[in-house]
């Protein structure tokens, strides 16, 4: 199957929030009513039960006029995901669609992924078991992997009426992104394609109307070297050594047991 990626052309977004509603609807996420906090942006940030938010940035144009800058904010599904590197339980993995997903069975709610996500996407949800004890699980956008498996487009993409969101073959998306960049450059001189190479690119790429920092995105996110070393080298090595040690201990135990079984005088003599 060809590589598919999501393209968010923020210059086409009109802030309708249909993607937010579609996401809640498909993923059966509870509503989170919020008090007015000085902006018409519905939620301050992503939460464990709100996996995408349209951000509303007030922007002053070069001629002194006012303009809204919208952004569909959700998981970018990094090719080198810091959350995946940080997870000690290997609960975060990549799917065949290149989406980064959390296995709720394996997640222990440690929150390392929350602390390490380059974009502040992963959040912890608190649940109660049947005894009333609280437990936590990391939650975030799945890129609707369950829909992709059924041959359907992600819910947010289907809901988008301005074609701001596209989920298509990677080559087509990149060509469209470059074409659109050329078209919007006159109106937005700082327009750029956001596909940070410090994390080997992402599976959601943006056409931004201004610098990433204007939208609250890191200019050049990177996964800490210590995390890469820990996840890709130390952990597998540690597991291998633990396996080797276990095998040695079992081997020694069997060998001792065999020796004990032999009669006292049954020694080899030269």
């Amino acid at each position: 199957m060809a590589d598919y990626i999501k393209f968010v052309d923020v210059t086409k977004c009109d802030g309708c929030r249909a993607c937010m509603v579609a996401c809640k609807n498909w993923n059966d996420l509870p509503a989170e009513p919020e008090d007015f906090n000085g902006s018409i942006q519905s939620h301050r940030d992503l939460t464990a039960n709100t996996w995408n938010v349209i951000t509303f940035n007030e922007h002053e144009t070069s001629d002194g006029n006012f303009e809204w800058l919208f952004r569909h904010m959700s998981c970018l599904h990094c090719n080198q995901a810091a959350c995946e590197k940080a997870c000690p339980e290997s609960a975060i993995s990549y799917t065949k669609f290149n989406s980064v997903v959390i296995d709720a069975e394996k997640c222990v709610g440690c929150g390392y992924c929350v602390q390490n996500c380059s974009f502040g996407v992963v959040q912890l949800a608190t649940y109660k078991d049947k005894n009333g004890s609280e437990y936590r699980k990391a939650q975030k956008c799945t890129l609707c992997t369950d829909r992709l498996e059924q041959g359907l487009q992600p819910a947010c993409v289907v809901a988008c009426h301005t074609d701001c969101l596209i989920y298509e073959e990677k080559d087509l998306v990149l060509a469209e992104a470059n074409k659109r960049l050329g078209e919007v450059k006159e109106r937005f001189p700082n327009a750029n394609i956001y596909n940070p190479q410090g994390i080997e690119g992402t599976n959601t790429i943006y056409l931004l109307a201004d610098k990433p920092s204007v939208y609250g995105l890191p200019e050049n996110p990177k996964v800490a070297l210590s995390q890469v070393v820990w996840k890709d080298y130390a952990q597998p090595l540690g597991k291998m050594m633990l396996g080797a040690t276990t095998m040695a201990v079992i081997g020694a135990a069997i060998s001792n047991a065999v020796r004990k079984d032999r009669p006292e005088g049954d020694h080899d003599h030269e």
Partner: protein, 267 residues
């Protein structure tokens, strides 16, 4: 869609490969026009069966041979039958096949199958698949002429009964012919067969858990159309493949008392 698809994976793969062959053949005939300009004055539909298409019979012959070779390779049990038909094909026979397949003359191809002692489906299937590039080319050339034919229970280009529609990028319902690929816009709540626009007569059936696929049934004429919302699908298949993959919708519609113009009793 994959949850309810009843078509065997191997058959689906075979059809997809045949679609690729047709795509290639279509490219090879792209340069030459198959419709004579003088034949545009026709007033009734379907148009193509009334035309004398300028199709290159040598090319058509080659397409059939290529298809027989492909079938013989993929279905060794049909190897012998493909060889028999291949050996007996002459340009005259091929020309006759082309003429008869445009009007889907089942009686003729049934007789051919009996004559050569081959499975009944094989001659018609080969003739039909190899003729599709020409049909599609002709339908594309007739595009402007075809716009005046609305509310036809059959494809105004090739005469295939209307049974399949897609909702395209702009959200419009387009009746699409899986045979010649001609598509024409249709109102969302309108019977493709009798043209009824009375919403109380239209029934929309959906399969549980199958997003983007609907059956539009008409209580006036008991006709139905499968409507697929392509905007929701990840992979955009060809109409012919989509038609095959949604064959379960035909079963459902027919189990609920609906039929198509092809059944005869509705029109």
């Amino acid at each position: 869609m994959s949850n309810t698809n009843v078509v065997e994976e191997s058959y689906e793969k075979l059809q997809a490969e045949i679609e690729e062959l047709i795509k290639g053949w279509r490219k090879s005939i792209n340069e030459t026009a198959v419709v004579k300009e003088s034949s545009f004055e026709l007033i009734s539909s379907p148009l193509i069966p009334q035309l004398d298409l300028e199709a290159d019979m040598n090319q058509y012959h080659l397409f059939i041979i290529e298809l027989f070779d492909f079938l013989a390779e993929r279905q060794p049990e049909n190897h012998e039958y493909c060889d028999i038909l291949k050996e007996n094909l002459t340009i005259d026979i091929v020309s006759k096949w082309f003429k008869e397949v445009i009007t889907v003359n089942r009686y003729y191809f049934h007789a051919v199958a009996e004559q050569y002692q081959v499975p009944e489906w094989l001659p018609l299937f080969a003739a039909e698949q190899a003729a599709r590039p020409f049909l599609q080319k002709a339908a594309a050339e007739l595009e402007t002429v075809l716009t005046k034919f609305q509310h036809d229970p059959c494809c105004p280009a090739c005469g295939e009964p209307a049974r399949f529609a897609v909702v395209g990028k702009k959200g419009k319902k387009e009746l699409t012919c899986p045979r010649c690929l001609h598509s024409r816009e249709e109102k969302k709540l309108c019977c493709a067969h009798c043209g009824t626009e009375d919403h109380t007569q239209m029934i929309v059936m959906k399969v549980d858990g199958e997003e983007g696929a609907e059956i539009h049934g008409c209580q006036t004429c008991k006709g139905y159309t499968k409507v697929i919302d392509m905007r929701k699908l990840l992979k955009k298949e060809t109409p012919a493949l989509m038609d095959i993959k949604t064959i379960h919708l035909d079963y459902i519609a027919q189990e609920n008392g609906f039929g198509t113009a092809e059944d005869g009793k509705y029109h």
